[in-house]
Amino acid sequence: MSSRKKTMLKVIILGDSGVGKTSLMQQYVSKKFSNQYKATIGADFLTKQDVRVDDRTVTMQLWDTAGQERFQSLGVAFYRGADCCVLVYDVNNAKSFEALDSWRDEFLIQASPRDPESFPFVVLGNKIDVEESKRVVSQKRALAFCQAKGNIPYFETSAKEAINVDQAFEVIARNALIQEESEEYSSDFSDPINIHLDNERGGCEC
């Protein structure tokens, strides 16, 4: 029995309402975009098959949640067992950027990962297709934030124009896989799984 167990990576996507969480997921999984995805109520997820990470093939389960703070208390049901958390803001909306920190805290409280310090986050600044004059959060400011929070990988994306979406999710998948394997390693020694613990954690890739 040498075949590897199929790996399922669970990724949670968080951020204020309307920053483009659903759009990013749809662009990544289905390669499509609509201006009119309905506001997410409750939670839903999409599954992305056959994602190559180095020599591995994994499946990603991407969880989309409601953005309004009032519904955050539901998170506890959805966050558990996450392997990576993606924080999304809209580069044209300062408030959505300022909220990243509390989204991160909220996630760590509700998901309570074993080792919060090393739990992988990725930050996405979305909607860079909008005209430059509307942009209110500079790349520099975003990078400073990511650096301060322990070198969180940062990407500037457009779900609409499919800019940087695949690249971002590649890093998300890789970091999620590292997290998943470290969790398995520490939780189940008897599991006959080949563990690649490479320490390469994508830094800022912009």
């Binding site: 839903d44 056959d50 409601a66 208390s73 539901l74 044209n92 509307k134």
Partner: protein
């Protein structure tokens, strides 16, 4: 009772066994199937009889019921019950009685997919025409008790592996008095006291063999022998490619079915084997329902999905959906002065069972949403309308004219932006809201480049006004979904605003900061499922899904995302009547769970699978069927509560309920509430009595629950 000469001993009786003379349910005739021994008769003389209820006096009915209910555990009746000998034949009714030795064979058809009711067909040696007898199990007290008992002891299946049904009990008693041989030739055929010749051929000359159309689904499934499903079911996680490989080896007919676009599409955005399977199983069972009069389902189906066995829908004839209320009918409710000439509860009853015609909604909804009092006259309504319009424009002007605030108040701007974003993604597929041809009034809006239309702008203004009007609650996501149908129907922003306020009055508990209103509804659903669907509940516990979050979206916006637009309008007007319960929406949720419970139990093992399956039901749910089912479930719930209350009032017998919270509590109906630490029990044991939990009892109330958010809005949200 009757004189002994014409009386026989009632050996067995089962209630609610029907003759279906026509295909219309209203022609069905309820009666008893019975075994009656004539005075001094031997076993071979015992009559197998069917007696319509209408031919029995009330004391005779109670004699039959007594025998029926005594049959629960053993084969020994406590005491002989004498009844008048049934008629051998009847010209005026379908009643019949056949001595045991005249019976050649009996065809048994257990309830299964496509057959709501199990039935027996008796063939006599002289080939008399005898109507098929249909066992309406869910109406028959003794069968219900038996099923409950079997569920409790985890032996829900009868000998042959099918779910237990009324016909099993009949056959059990028959075996006591005669030899019954199963035919090897015909699956469901039993030979009664067969000759050696019969045994040899095992193929009775007059057995009606059910012909199955070769193209029918049952044939397809028979061909597949469910191997495909079984193979898939063993795989826990597999890629779509792997699934396709398995499917590729299936018989052509199955492959053809998999090529149906809807089935195909299932695989497009996710691959969880169980979700895939569950949907497939459901699509098959729905197909079967559509063809239920044509298809004979075999035990193959019963063994594998067992859905719909004991389907409650089949058995409650009192629930009937009606035609929608037409414009003429609506107008006829009112007299010349425009006052109701009937009671408002009559109107509500009518709307609850039929809904409203499209061309009367804009008026009728204003009553249902408390803009117009039910006892108002036409003239009064005119002045109410004028006042409401003034009031709306006054409220709107308050924020509209406050330029300072619009520019500096960050909280206000934030709420406005949120509202605008949501409005621009609410029901854009509806023609009214589709257009983008109007230039945006505010060049700084994120939507300035996209354009808007007058109706979106109206929605936006109404929601901003509501955000001001109900300051403590404010705008919360989901509200735009609740407003758009009202606006689209009423087509007058001021009146629609007040209708929306009326709707929000009951809906605001869904949007509270602490989510307590949603929590309480999910808890009610939890308790309701524990009480009404204990097996499903046990399964959901194993699947880590008893937080019922998979119902969150459905309850938050009243199934707005689950039903098609026209169905949403119909559903909401039905729910607004509060005709049976102000929380009938919970029963709609229960009905959907009930419909899918077999598939859920068979195929879905984890929280994510259950959530996905439920989310993907969106736009596939049949509304009228769901409403019928919900009503049946409500009545059943009400009867259960009544029964428990009655039992509790009996001073003689309170000890029949156990008092420890962690053991099952058999109620009179045999429902079992299984307690978990930290969970509310639907049935609270208390001093030897069983008390229905508060959240459950609340479900019987027609009083709308209004909970205000008391914390005023402050600072940023999210």
């Amino acid at each position: 009772m009757a004189s002994t000469s014409s009386s026989g001993v009632l050996l067995f009786a089962k209630s609610k066994v029907y003759v279906h003379p026509t295909s219309s349910a209203k022609d069905n005739i309820p009666g008893f199937i019975a075994l009656v021994r004539p005075p001094g008769g031997a076993d071979k003389d015992i009559l197998v009889a069917w007696v319509p209820e209408s031919q029995l006096r009330s004391d005779e009915i109670s004699a039959y019921m007594r025998v029926d209910l005594n049959m629960d555990d053993g084969l020994h009746a406590t005491r002989e019950v004498l009844v008048p000998m049934p008629q051998l034949t009847s010209i005026s009714s379908y009643a019949f009685a056949v001595p045991m030795h005249r019976i050649y064979s009996i065809m048994l058809r257990p309830p299964s997919l496509g057959w709501w009711w199990g039935s027996v067909i008796i063939h006599t040696r002289s080939e008399d025409v005898i109507p098929a007898l249909f066992f309406h199990d869910a109406e028959s007290q003794s069968t219900i008790l038996q099923q409950k008992m079997r569920n409790k002891t985890f032996t829900p299946f009868a000998q042959d592996g099918d779910l237990f049904w009324g016909g099993d009990q009949f056959m059990k008693y028959l075996r006591k008095y005669t030899i019954v041989e199963k035919s090897t030739f015909e699956q469901r055929l039993y030979l009664i006291n067969p000759d050696p010749d019969d045994l040899l051929s095992f193929s009775p000359p007059n057995a009606r063999v059910e012909k199955v159309n070769n193209d029918s689904l049952s044939k397809i499934i028979k061909d597949a022998r469910w191997n495909v499903l079984e193979r898939l079911a063993r795989v826990t996680r597999f890629s779509r490619r792997a699934a396709n490989e398995v499917m590729g080896n299936s018989p052509p007919a199955v492959r053809a079915m998999l090529n149906v676009p809807e089935v195909r599409q299932l695989g497009d955005d996710f691959d969880s084997a169980r979700v895939y399977l569950a949907k497939w199983a459901m699509s098959i069972s729905e197909e079967a329902e559509r063809n239920k009069t044509k298809i004979v389902w075999t035990d193959v189906v019963g063994d594998h999905i067992g859905s719909m066995a004991g389907d409650i829908l089949s058995v409650d004839d009192r629930v009937e959906r009606r035609n929608e209320v037409s414009r003429d009918e609506w107008k006829a409710f009112f007299d010349a002065s425009g006052r109701l000439r009937v009671t408002f509860s009559e109107v509500k009853e009518r709307v609850f069972h039929g809904g409203l015609a499209r061309d009367i909604r804009s008026e009728a909804w204003l009553f249902l949403l408390d803009v117009f009092p039910w006892d108002s006259s036409q003239i009064e309504r005119q002045s109410i309308m004028a006042a409401k319009r003034d009031e709306y424009f006054r409220l709107k002007r308050q924020w509209w004219d406050d330029i300072d605030r619009q520019q500096v108040d960050a909280v206000w701007k934030d709420q406005r932006n949120r509202i605008e974003k949501d409005v621009h993604r609410t029901d854009r597929n509806i023609l009214l809201f589709a257009g983008e041809d109007t230039p945006h009034p505010d060049p700084d809006s994120p939507f300035a480049n996209i354009g808007t239309n007058v109706h979106l702008e109206q929605l936006k203004d109404m929601l901003i006004t509501y955000n001001e009007y109900n300051k403590s609650l404010g705008y919360v996501q989901g509200m735009s979904d609740l407003l758009s149908p009202i606006y689209a129907v009423v087509q007058d922003d001021a009146l629609a605003f007040w209708a929306f306020v009326g709707f929000m009055n009951r809906m605001q508990r869904n949007f509270l900061r602490d989510q307590s209103g949603m929590h309480r509804q999910l808890l009610a659903l939890d308790n309701l499922v524990q009480l009404m669907e204990p097996q499903l509940y046990t399964h959901l516990e194993k699947a880590d899904s008893t937080n019922f979050f998979f119902m969150f979206r459905m309850l938050l916006v009243w199934f707005k995302r689950e039903f098609k637009w026209d169905d949403v309008l119909r559903l909401w007007e039905v729910l607004w009547t509060d005709y049976l319960s102000s929380q009938f929406v919970i029963f709609v949720g229960l009905a959907i769970l009930d419909k899918h419970k077999d598939v859920i139990m068979e195929h879905l093992e984890h929280f994510d699978e259950v959530l996905k399956y439920m989310n993907e039901l969106s736009k596939t749910i049949d509304l009228e069927e769901t409403l019928t089912r919900a009503e049946v479930l409500f009545h059943r719930f009400q009867r259960t509560v009544d029964a428990i209350d009655r039992k509790n009032r009996e001073p003689s017998n309170p000890a029949s309920f156990p008092t420890t919270p962690l053991s099952p509590h058999p109620s009179m109906n045999g429902h079992v509430g299984i307690g978990l630490p930290g969970k509310t029990l639907p049935l609270m044991p208390e001093a030897g009595k069983v008390i229905i939990s508060d959240v459950l009892r609340e479900l019987l109330s027609k009083e709308v629950i209004v909970v205000n958010d008391t914390i005023p809005m402050e600072g940023y949200e999210s």
